[in-house]
Structure formats: C-alpha cells, structure tokens
C-alpha cells in the first residue's frame, strides 16, 4: 500500500542523505521524493511516497522521528489530502497533429510550454493517476521524453502540518 508522508526537517546540509539513507538501510521502498523549503527558511519539507505494510509505515514513522534533524512526521490520509505532481512531456507532433494534441491538453489542463516543427513539450500538473492517464493518451504520438517530479501533498481543510502543530 502507498503512503504519503510529510516530513519537516531542519534545513541543513546532509539531512536529505540521512533520510534517504534511513529508507535504504531499513529496506523501505521510496516511490517518489520531493524536497523544498517551507515558509520558514530554516525548515524544509520532504514529501515521501513509500510502499509498504502498516507495520512498515509504523517503523518508517518511528525511525524518521529518531533522526535528530527531523522535526515532524505526518502520514497524510489519502481521502484527506490534495496531491500533485508536475510532468513535462515531449512528444512527436507534426503541424497536422497539433489540433488533436491541443484538445487532449485542454481536457487535462495541460499547457504547451515549447513547440518545434516536429515536437511539442507539454507541462501538466495533477495527481499521479491523472498524469498516468494523460501520458497514455499521448503515447500514440510517440513520447520522446518524460520528466516527472515527486509528489507533493497537503491536507484538506484547515489543518496544517507545520512545526508548531
């Protein structure tokens, strides 16, 4: 089962290595990882999507909490979060095919970010499932390259995962 874990850490050099190393040596699989600074420049947020049983998840949370630089660990409930990835897809596309591709982009709220005689680069952000669907629809044109970020996620409603609460 996939778990989305939001981890607040001290914004020091080497913290990401400690977190990634912990996952590797304890045999926890990381599906995706995204790191960015928060509104407090001393604090970074690492969003990790990991695969594993409930026992594994409990161990991940406890072991992460043991790292001195980890301030907070919170596993987000799937039904109670908004999650996003950003994808850049470069496909083969002739001038003739452009209208079709544009209509697919419109459906998925994708944006053309670069265009050349025989290719189009599309930028799109959504949850993992929708990005996968989008990718499948573009596949027939010939995918030249795909660049995807890790998932970032935020809780729905008023609650927030911050240093203070």
């Amino acid at each position: 089962m996939k778990h989305t874990i939001s981890v607040l850490v001290e914004n020091h050099a080497g913290v990401l290595a400690r977190v990634a190393g912990l996952f590797a040596r304890r045999g926890f699989n990381i599906d995706s990882l995204a790191v960015g600074v928060t509104d407090d420049e001393n604090v970074s947020r690492i969003t990790i999507v990991a695969d594993g049983s409930d026992y594994t998840l409990e161990q991940i949370e406890k072991q992460l909490n043991k790292l001195i630089d980890v301030i907070k660990v919170k596993t987000l409930a799937p039904e109670n979060m908004v999650s996003r990835e950003l994808v850049l897809i470069k496909i083969s596309c002739t001038a003739k095919q452009r209208p079709e591709v544009l209509s697919i982009c419109e459906l998925f709220r994708g944006k053309i970010s670069d265009i050349s005689a025989n290719s189009v680069t599309i930028e799109m952000s959504d949850n993992t499932q929708n990005i996968n669907n989008f990718e499948e629809l573009l596949r027939p044109y010939g995918i030249k390259e795909i660049v995807r970020t890790g998932t970032i996620a935020i809780q729905k409603g008023e609650q927030a995962v911050t240093v203070k609460n």
């Binding site: 080497g14 909490n65 043991k66």
Partner: protein, 545 residues
Amino acid sequence: MSSERMTVARAMTECLKAEGITELFGYPGAAICPFYDELYKTDIRHILVRHEVNAGHAASGCARITGKPAVCVATSGPGALNLITAIATAYMDSVPMVIITGQVNSEQIGRDVFQEADITGSAEPFVKHSYLLKRPEDTADVFKKAFYIAGTGRRGPVLIDVPFDVQQAKIDFEYPETVDIRSYRPSTRGNGFQIKRAITAMKEAEKPLICAGGGLFTGNGVELMRTLAEKTDIPVVSTMMGLGAMPSDSPLYYGMLGMHGRKAANAAVNSCDTLFLLGARVGDRAIAAMEHRRDLTVVHIDIDPAEIGKNIEANIPIVGDITLVLEQLLEQVNAFEQPLSHKGWREKLDGFRSDSEPEPVEQGYVNPKWFIRTLDKYLPEKSVIVADVGQNQIWTAANISLKQGRFLTSGGMGTMGYSLPAAIGAKCADKDAEVIAVCGDGSFQMQFMELATAVQHGINVKVIVMRNRYLGMVREVQERTYGNRLVGVSLDGSPDFCKVAEAYGIGNMLADSEESAVKGIKRLISSDKPFLLEVAVPELEKTIL
C-alpha cells in the same frame, strides 16, 4: 560567563573539561594535531591505544560503567574509518559516546586528498547523530548538543568531525549552560493510561514475568526493578545485556533467557501469561522463545518508541525513561491493598532449575564452565567481567553469578576483540573494581596489542584467555549444520599466549588442571598489575549440549 578568544582546538578541550571529561582514548594523526597540541596543555589524560577501534571500545567500556558519554579520538581517513566497528558496537548496545575525528582542510573536502574519508557519511548508519563542524563559531553549540544527545534518551554514539583548518580558526568561545533542540525531546514519564493498564495486567496475571534488559543499566533503573520484583513477587529473567540487573542469588531470579540461556529462564518465558519487558529490545537471539505466543500479554517499557512493536508485538506499550516509569509503577504497587503472591508459579519454575556440576574433562585441560564458576567464587563483590564474543562469551554469561558486579559484552553487534579494550575503559571508569576480560584464543589475537596500552598507562586489567585452538563457536556451527566439514576455524600457528604476556612484561600462568586453575585465579585476583591467565579448554568442548 563571558566569552574568550581562542582557537577551535583549544575550545574543544574547554568543551571536554566543561563536560567533566578527565580521560580520553585516542590515536593521533596529522589532521587532529591542532587538538592534540591543546590537549598537551590540559590535565586531560590521553590514553594511547594501539589501534583506533580499541579507542572506541575503551570509551564504550568506560561509558557503560559511568553511564555518561565517554570520548574517543582519531585522525582523518583511516584513523576515523578504523573506529567504525566500535561506533557500530556502541550503537547496537545503546552506549553513550562522543567521537572526535580530524578531517582534511575544509576546502579540500571531496577532492580525495591524502587521508580523506567521508566519516560522517560512512558512520551515518551507526550513529545517533553526527556533525561535520564547518563553521568555527558553532563549536561550543555542537559539542554541547553532542554530549546532550549521546547521554539522554536512548543513549548512543555521536560523532564530531573537525576539519584541520577549522581546528586552527579563532573564535569567541563560551560554553552554553543549557541546550534546546526543538526536534529532539526524549520522552520521560510513561503515559498514565498505559501505566494503569500495566497495573491491571499485573494484578490479573497468574504467571507474570519480568524480563530485565540492558536499558536498566543505562537508565539507572536496576534498584527500582529489584524493588518492583520483590514487592510484587514476580520472577525475573534477564537478557544478556541485562545480566547482573538482578542478583543471581535472589530466589526470584531464573537466569538468562534465549538461545544460550538457562532452562528455567526459557521455561518461564514459554509459560508466563504476562511479560514485562524492561529496557529490552528482544533481539533475535533472545526472542525465539517468545514468538507465536498469542495468549501472552506483553507490557513493553522502553525509551525508544521504535523498539516497541519492532521485534515483538506489545499489548501495552509504555514509552519512557525506565526510572520514571518504574517509579510510576511502584507508586501504584505500594497502594495495593493486598500484596501479590506468586508462590505456586515460582515453585513450578523452581522445578526447572538445574544446577548440575560440570563434568570433569581429560587430563591437561579445564572445563570452561567449571572454570567460570570457580572464578566466580573468588571474585570480589565489585567486579566487572567483560566477555568477548564466541564460546567464551556463552560460558561466561551462563556461569558467572555477579553478586553486585557488572557484566559487559558486545551484545548486539557481537564484535570480536571487544573485551580487553572495553576492560581498559571500564577500569579507567572504576579504579577500585576488579576488571577482568575473558576472551578466546581467536578474539585475543584481535586485540592483544592493547596489553601495551594497559602496561603503558598502568591500567590494572586482568585477562583470561580460553584457549581451545579453534574459533569454537563457528566450529560448532560447522559440526552441527555443515556435516562437520571444518573450514577456516583452526587456529594453528597461534603463539604461546603466556610468552606473549611475558613479552609485554605481564605476569602470566597456564591453567591446565583444576588445581592450577585455582592457583591461577588466586594469582590473577591478587595481582596489582595486569595479569594473563591462559586456560586450556578441551578443543572440542561445546556451548550447546
């Protein structure tokens, strides 16, 4: 306190002084020379080991006796890397330790210069925390935090790597009095609700059992645990790390559990209905007896939440400092209207106590079990026995009684070569205690260079070498599991160990009969200098019967 202008190297010694460090174990090299030059100007005693790993083990032995972080030092590159096994050994057994390593110049880091190694990276899996001290002005803060982290919560090693140029930099130094780390708040008192549940379980239990772990020593909970056991009439078994927590002559004590444990202890674990795990992580060598017991109620008390539910399912988890949690439990126990009694349960367990006399062995040898029991009779009350790893460890753990003393061993990591350097550290920590390292002829050859350390610094440790000319523990595995195809376990070519001691100017004797063993034990204990007793153990003697 006002700040003072000084080099980081000097500040490092000031930090150590502020932390009450009077002795440290180390091995110098170019990259740590600025620090050593400042050490020269202090009263801190530097104990030169003969291999860096042993600086780590010595600090570990020292810390396990004092309960406070001990310090070891090495230079960059190979010096630091040689410490890793000792760091990992300390980490597995939750020993508080601060490790200081020299590093190449900051600007050269990452360029593979002479004696450069990424020690913070290499040691990462085995440290509680580590620092690469890049900004000279962070020195005081980093040292304060390192000692605080190492010595609180679940204890463990903390590494500080200091580049050469940083050691020489000038700073305004002032050692902070307090420390606050927002992301590190070791839990203290146990959750009140869980304490209540534990008390209910204790009252309802018909066959309760206390399993005493090593955490009782690090958390200073030994006396409280004894009181709890006595007040509630609950029998006690111990893990290897918890040996000595309960006096062996107590009628409530049933010995060490696990793969190599006592029959009575394992019978207790197998038939109890409520198990109180105190500061024990129930490692895989101890746990076998407890698996698949669905009818068992486990009350797990540990400072580290990650240990609870990791190796054994806990029905009642209590995270907290063992001293505080035991106090909370005792408060409730003291208010019991009727004292608990488990006479029937204890009598049933008494039936499993087997104290058969070790059998005599062929001429020219000494039965190792008989030897340890005999040694035990002559030991002063306050003794520290440091067992190495292998058959010698099992024979010692299973046959030593430890009236009031301590038993140290590399429990989690099983690091050979631990006993002599750890004994040196333990002796530094408690100069009045009789400190004896027990090792085999395999492990002795991994560490005997440290005899020089003992001689040079006048550290009066005693060494017992159980010589059977084999890596006996591995040989047993090959006998049992691999059709007696013995490979790589013969120690042919080993030196005469008494002559080795002789070469270091150390008193020595060979015990090859019960008579000479008794004589040797008496000489060993009465010697006011290091002494080596070689014990001729039958070559094919086993630990498992």
